[in-house]
Every structure is written in C-alpha cells, then in structure tokens.
C-alpha cells in the first residue's frame, strides 16, 4: 500500500532526503488531510505538507493542524511507564508497571467486586482503539462502569438525532455539497475558530449568494460575517428554535407533502409552538423581534438549507431538546435527505463520530447497538467469544462515575486518551474523586493534569505512530497512517489494553498483532448494527477518498446522504418534538447577576494537554481570559487586562479581562483549555441533561469582582 497518496496533476513540494506520508490531523472532527514530512535517513518527523487533493479540506489547515506534527517528538513525551512512589513519579519497566496494575486490579475486584474497576475512555483516537477500549472494559476487566469524554462533547447531538431521526450520524450530507447550499442556520457554533477549515465551504456558498444566520451570544468570527446574528442569552436556544418553528408554520414555509409523509407529531408540534410568537421569543431570548423575523424569512424562503449546530446548544441541560428542535427546522422545510440540504453537527473530537458508535458509551455496544437489547448482546458476545450472560449491564455517564467514586462503588479507574481533570465540570468534585480512588492508571503521551493524579502512567503513542481509521464529522471513514515507529517504550492504546487484559487472565480474547486485525474484528462486530462498517476496508478508503457508513457489504457504495427514503426510527418516520420553555439549570440571580459561558479558542484543543505544549500556539494564546463587554467592565471599574475574580456557587478563579463590544453585555466568556487554578471548569455547573447526561458547560450564573 502506498504511503503517499496524491491525485494526478496535484503537485506537492518533495524535498530530497524526505518522504511524505499521507494522513489526517489528530485534532477536531474536520480531520483535515495532510502529508507528514519524514526524514528518510533518520525516520524523524520534520514537518507538514498540505494535502491539496483531500476533498473535504483541500489542503487547508488551522494553526493547530499546521503544528500538530510537533507533538510527536516533543521533549515532554512520556517514554517509559511511570510509577508513583512517595508522591513522585519514577521511571519503571513495562513489567513492573503491569505487575503493579495486575496486583491492584485483582485486589480491588476481589475485595469489592468486578464493577469496582472502571474505564474512562476518549474519542481522540482511532476506531480500532475506541472499539477495543469498550471490549477491554467489558471483557478484559468485566466491569459495567465504562464511559468516555464524548459524554462532554457529542452526547446531546447523539440523543437529539436518535430521538428525532432514529440514527445518529453527525451530518446527513457530505460536505463538498455545502457549496451548493442557499442558506446556513448555524446555532451555538463558532466554527471559524473551532473547525476553521469548514469556513471554506461557507464562503464557497456565500460567493454564490448563500445567506448565513448565526445564533450565538458572542459576535464570533463566524457571526461577524452572518446576514443575521441572533445574539441570544445563553441557555435560551429551545425558545429561539420554537420561535423559528412558529414563524415557519405561520408564514407557510412548511413542506406539507414531506411532513405528512415522513414525520410524526406535526399537529402536536404546531400546538406547542403556537405561543412562541416573535414577541414572546424575543422576551425570553433577548434577541430583537426584527432579527427573529428576518432570520425566519431568509431561512424559510431558501430552497436548499442546512441547519448546523455544535456544543453551544448541546452542552446544556436541555441539549437533547435543543438538537431536536433545530433538527425539526430542517424537517419542516423537507430538507433532510436532499441534495445540499440537511442537518449537521460539528463533531468536536477527531473521532467523536466513530468513537461514540462502537461501545465506549455506558449503554452501547459496537455498531451503535444497545446494551439493553438482548439480540445485540447475543451478537456481540458471539463475535467476542463470550457467553451473553457474562456481558456487563449498562453503567453510568462520565460525570456520574465520579459520584460512584464518592459512594465508594468505584475504587479503581483506567483513564485512556482523556483529561477529565480539566475537561469535566465542577472540577473540585473530579479532583476529589481522583484523590479518593484506591488505584488510578492513566495512558497518555504527555503528563496531563489527570495523569498527575495517577498511581501508574503508561506511555501511549501519538496518532502518528500507529495505523488505523477514524470517522470524520461527515460520517466518512478515513485512514490514519503510521508516520514513524513508536518513540521510546511507548505503545499504541490497543496494545496497552491487550497487555492488561492478558494480565487479568483474558488474553485469549485479545490476540491482536496489529491494528488491522482489530479492524477486521471490529468490522464484524458492527455488522448488522446501525453504524455498519462491515463493507469498509482500508483499501477501499484509499481508493474512494473515504467511505461513508452505513456500508453493510463489500459492493455497497457507502451512504454519503442519509435518510433519502426513510429515517432510522422503527416506523421510518421522523419524530417531531414538543418542547415547552424551560430555564437553564442555573440562571442569573441578584447575588450572581451574570451569565458565564465557556468555549474554545482557535489555538487550543480540548483540555490543552497537547496544544499547550506547542510553542507557536502558546505564543498566540498563553492563558485564559474573561471576555466581556466594556459596558459591563465599566460597572466594576475594570479595564482591559485587569485581573478579575470570577465567582460561581461552586468556586472562584482569577483571570485577566479582555474587552470587546462584540459580545452580549450580560455574558462573560472564558476558554476552558487550561488546568488547575486556570481551569474555568472549576466554576461550571454539573447540571446534567436528563437524556444525554451532558453537563451544562455553556450556562451558569456568575458574579465578578475587581481583584485588588
């Protein structure tokens, strides 16, 4: 198989003594195509070359992508296992580390039962690894407590899509079609900063006259170029979406043929949204009536439209409702399943799509099968070679695992590819949980804030030291290539979990010699499930520029556009939601009069464990800040760059202010990529969505004080 893949007529700069290896970025769900430059003699990674012919991103990269290769041979990589002795990490051999893990894991399970161990996974790794983490927890350790960081990322989108459309694929259409779209309705996504290479598609369409509507409390770089910016109060998305639905119905923008034939519940929806007049909606959301009406007309009149959203609407205690309502805007207009139209969420993590489909979630098995479905348990047990009765029952969500630690039910944990000590809400609770644990193992390639709590740290490889596949935000399965041999004694995650499983006496279930063998089993495990990867092979991915799931057989072309004829629900019809207005879990009060909202900056990724170690990115954005309107700042005598104390009912922190008029006057924004005393997640509210168990990162009540 060729390592450097390029289409005819496309030129790359190839320097003498260097080779190019074709792969994708390790960061967000855009999974931008890139070639990594490798020195042929030394095998070392020396740089990056744009992959001009990758159809989704066309050589474009954000600053994280350009510098991603710098993490591979970074000075701070963990190169041997580390064992904590008297509070200090000391280097150890793999044997010593595995001995210690075996001893403690066995002791804990003997004393407190199988479920006393737990696994906290992540989705910034390949499908092969994500799949195996699920199997590791359920077969290797035999525990029901497994969940993953996608719970803080994609779970509301998944919940909303499952409820409404019956199948959760992040985008119902392939993104190169976006250039033909007439109108984008983007809610709660600052895509210019969080998925920068997506912007090219918006501009391609805009160049042809497409309209852009953005709902966001801040006038982000995305909102700045919008035709209408709906500057809503944090946490009022469900009212805004209901208001939009009200106007679509009132103004006759509904495609009744489509709705009658393909949707349930229209009459109920109509009744619920009746009271959401522009005036009522405006009162709740704080958006002017004129803007709401204008947005509804632009959206209603456009022929081909895409509704897009991201964590802004999903990371709320009403995340699932918000997703269902925004999705319904596309359904009423009859857009889903048609050309250049539909609905899409911006997947936050590299493999946020693939990683959530294959059994890292507390209640899911590979192929998007439900753990509560006996047939699914039977099938997956057969693939795994275990008795269905041995399959553990569903566990609890990521944040709730820390409640279980407090209750003493979970005593040991293995954190893989995640850094909840920065990315979970209400961090003091999380930190206390880690301290309370009897035994904590962390696999990572940098000493993350979570790894600092560990008893044993296992050196994992970066994305560039292993083969595999990921699924990008469209639902396209793509190929990640090994660029160099693993650094030091580091090992890929699939090998690490196999080694531990072997120590737990389950070695025969983990016989893999390479990632492709994992992929072959994983294909089989997904066969017949909703997310069916059975027909996808590594070879096909190269030949076809990635393959869209579901792809049930070798001769199946994959499914670029979802729901052309029917939806994934049992009756094939979409379920329109009926959602009454409900406040966020915490709203401003006299004592805490402001909104606090959190998010990303373009220079950092998730908990920052990787990007905070890249020089260029740290030069651009070294620390968090409190972004606020100058009119708010002046009420507290604050000037640009002053230290301000942010206080919520949970905790407080000190940051510098950053003033701009491009935001609401009642809202303070703080990016979340830093740990310890710089972590804004000390302040965020762990109020969970009742269905997706997503914490409300995006809304909580805040008071501020000038720091003297």
């Amino acid at each position: 198989m060729s390592q450097y893949i390029v289409k005819e007529g496309v030129k790359n700069l190839q320097k003498p003594g260097e080779k190019l290896i074709t792969t994708h970025c390790c960061y967000c769900g855009m999974q931008c195509g890139m070639h990594i430059r490798v020195n042929e003699k030394t095998g070392k990674v020396v740089g990056v070359e744009p992959r001009y012919d990758w159809p989704v991103t066309r050589g474009k990269m954000c600053p994280k992508g350009v510098t991603a290769y710098q993490t591979v041979e970074h000075d701070e990589r963990i190169l041997t296992p580390l064992i904590k002795k008297n509070g200090e990490f000391v280097k150890a051999t793999w044997k010593e580390a595995l001995d210690l893990i075996e001893e403690n894991f066995k002791r804990i399970q003997k004393e407190s039962g199988r479920d006393a161990l737990s696994v906290f996974g992540g989705v910034s790794m390949t499908n092969e690894k994500c799949y195996l983490v699920g199997k590791y927890a359920r077969v290797g350790l035999g525990t029901r407590f497994i969940d993953y960081n996608g719970r803080f990322c994609m779970s509301s989108a998944a919940g909303g899509f499952l409820k409404t459309l019956g199948t959760d694929r992040g985008s119902t259409l392939p993104w190169p079609e976006l250039e033909h779209t007439d109108c984008f309705f983007i809610a709660g996504s600052n895509t210019a900063e969080c998925h920068p290479t997506s912007i090219q598609w918006l501009w391609r369409a805009k160049d042809k006259g497409a309209k852009l509507i953005v709902a966001d409390p801040r006038e982000t770089p995305t909102a700045r170029v919008a035709d209408v910016h709906l500057d809503l109060k944090p946490g009022t998305d469900s009212a805004l979406a209901n208001g939009m639905l009200h106007l679509l119905i009132k103004n006759g923008y509904v495609d009744y043929d489509y709705v009658n034939e393909r949707c349930n519940n229209f009459e109920e929806l109509k009744k619920t949204v009746e009271k959401f007049t522009p005036e009522y909606t405006s009162k709740i959301t704080g958006v002017s009536v004129g803007k709401i009406v204008k947005a509804a007309h632009i959206y209603g009149l456009s022929q081909k439209s895409v509704v897009m959203f991201a964590r802004g609407v999903e990371q709320q205690s009403k995340g699932v409702d918000n997703v269902s309502l925004y999705t319904s805007m596309a359904l009423l207009k009859g857009q889903i399943g048609r050309f250049a139209s539909g609905v899409a969420t911006f997947t936050g993590q590299g493999n946020g799509q693939g990683g959530r489909e294959h059994g890292q979630k507390a209640d899911l098995l590979p192929g998007y099968r439900k753990l509560t479905d006996p047939e699914a348990v039977k099938y997956v047990s057969k693939v795994w070679g275990i008795d269905p009765s041995e399959m553990p029952k569903p566990g609890v969500s990521a944040y709730e695992m820390f409640d279980e630690i407090q209750k003493g039910k979970i005593r040991g944990m293995h954190v893989i590819c995640s850094n909840p000590a920065v990315s979970a809400p209400n961090l003091e609770h999380i930190w206390n949980g880690f301290r309370k644990l009897d035994f904590l193992v962390v696999s990572d390639f940098f000493l993350s804030e979570t790894a600092e709590f560990a008893d044993v740290v296992l050196p994992a490889t970066t994305w560039a030291e292993d083969e595999g596949t990921t699924t990008n935000l469209e639902g396209r399965v793509i190929r990640i290539r090994k660029v160099r041999e693993p650094l030091g004694e580091s090992k890929p995650d699939w090998e690490i979990v196999s080694l531990i499983a072997e120590r737990m006496g389950k070695g025969k279930y983990f016989p893999y010699k390479n990632a492709e063998e994992v992929f072959e089993e994983f294909r089989l495990a997904t066969k017949g499930g909703k997310a069916d990867y059975y027909g996808i092979t590594w070879d096909r991915i190269d030949k076809e520029d990635g393959v869209f799931w579901p792809c049930p057989s070798d001769d199946h072309p994959g499914t670029p556009t979802m729901f052309i004829d029917q939806f994934g629900t049992p009756d094939g019809k979409a379920n329109l939601p009926c959602v009454e207005w409900k406040e966020a879990g915490e709203t401003p009060t006299k004592e805490y009069p402001l909104f606090l909202t959190t998010g990303r900056v373009v220079f950092h990724y998730l908990s920052g464990a990787q990007t905070r170690r890249v020089k260029f990115l740290m030069e651009q954005c070294p620390e968090p800040f409190a972004e606020m309107h100058p009119s708010l700042a002046s009420q507290y005598g604050l000037e640009d760059g002053d230290l301000v104390k942010l206080i919520t009912p949970r905790s407080h922190m000190l940051v510098k202010t950053k003033l701009t008029k491009a935001t609401r006057r009642d809202t303070v924004f703080v990016p979340y990529h830093w740990g310890k005393e710089l972590a804004v997640n000390q302040l965020t509210n762990p109020c969970l969505d009742p269905i997706s168990r997503m914490p409300e990162f995006k809304v909580c009540a805040l008071k501020i004080e000038k720091y003297k």
Binding site: K11, P50, G59, P63, I199, W203
Partner: protein, 180 residues
C-alpha cells in the same frame, strides 16, 4: 510564474494559520514573515492578513546600501542575502507597508519571499495553501481578474451600488508578481 497572491481581508478569521504555516516553509528558519492583526478588537473581531506586496520597484531594495535584496526573474523580492546584509535596517524603515522583519540576534533582515522554493514550481506558498477561509490565495492572473468582475456582479445582484467614498469596498485587494 504567472500567479497572483490574492487577499480578501473580509474573509480573514484571525486563526493565524498563515503564520504557523509560514514558519513551516523550508527556507524560513521557523520564523514567520507575514502578519495577522485586529482592525480594532474592542469594536469587532475583524482581522486581516498582511504580506509582502512584492513591489515592482521595491523601496526595501532601493534603500539597501549593500544591494543585499535581490529580485528574482519572476519578480519575487527575496530576503537580504546573508553575506551582503550589513544590518542597517534601512529596508525596515523604507518599506511603506512595514513588512521586512529584523533579527537582532543574527543582525539581519528577513521577509516574505512567497515561499520561493515552492512558488518557483507553481506550488502555492504555505500561507495561501493552508488559509482556511481563502482570505489568502495563490491564483492565476486571469482568475484574479475574473474574481474581481464577479465581486462587482454579486454586489449588483444584491442591489448595492458603489458611491463616492466607498468604491474600495467593491474591489478586493490584490497584488502579486507576474511576467508581462
């Protein structure tokens, strides 16, 4: 080389990918030579990229007492030649756009050379390659002319008409090198 570096300021999202990519160019010693700045962050998040204009008769080269700044046959204005540069910084004062940078440790000037190691083979410079919003593009002269006509056309479709004082809004900025 009949290519143009084409800028559309309005598209800039301030990600500074062009600067990260500039450092990646083989001949750039991991130092960026381009700029991304806020117009005024207090008022808006609008940013804009700035690159060397590759002037036909560059002030930087004219004011160089050592003749260290060479212009290639395609018209690319290169960084000062290491062996000739005397570190006087005239070029940095002479350039009307504030482009040339000065390395005080090495005592020499460096500037954008349109990634000459790439562009001489008609491969796009790193900044234009990666720019996520196509605010920086490396395109044919003809395509540039077409884009300019297109822009006016889109304004007409939307019923906008240039008036005295805002005509510049109707023409995107461009510059570049091309042989006649």
């Amino acid at each position: 080389m009949n290519k143009i570096m084409y800028l559309e300021f309005e598209r800039c999202i301030g990600c500074r990918s062009c600067q990260a990519a500039c450092r990646e160019c083989g001949d750039h010693d991991a130092k960026e030579r381009n700029y991304v700045e806020y117009v005024d962050f207090m008022e808006s998040r609008q940013t804009y990229p700035m690159l060397c204009m590759q002037c036909k008769d560059p002030a930087c080269a004219r004011v160089c007492p050592a003749n260290a700044i060479q212009i290639t046959e395609e018209g690319v204005v290169l960084s000062a030649m290491e062996e000739k540069c005397i570190g006087c910084r005239n070029c940095t004062f002479g350039c009307p756009f504030g482009i040339p940078k000065f390395d005080f440790e090495e005592n020499k000037m460096y500037k954008c050379d349109m990634c000459y190691d790439r562009s001489k083979y008609d491969i796009a410079p790193m900044c234009a390659s990666v720019c996520p919003s196509d605010a920086i593009r490396f395109i044919d002269f003809d395509e540039m002319q077409q884009l300019r006509r297109k822009r006016s056309q889109m304004n007409l479709v939307e019923g906008k008409k240039p008036q005295e004082g805002n005509k510049w809004e109707y023409v995107p900025e461009f510059f570049g090198v091309y042989t006649e």
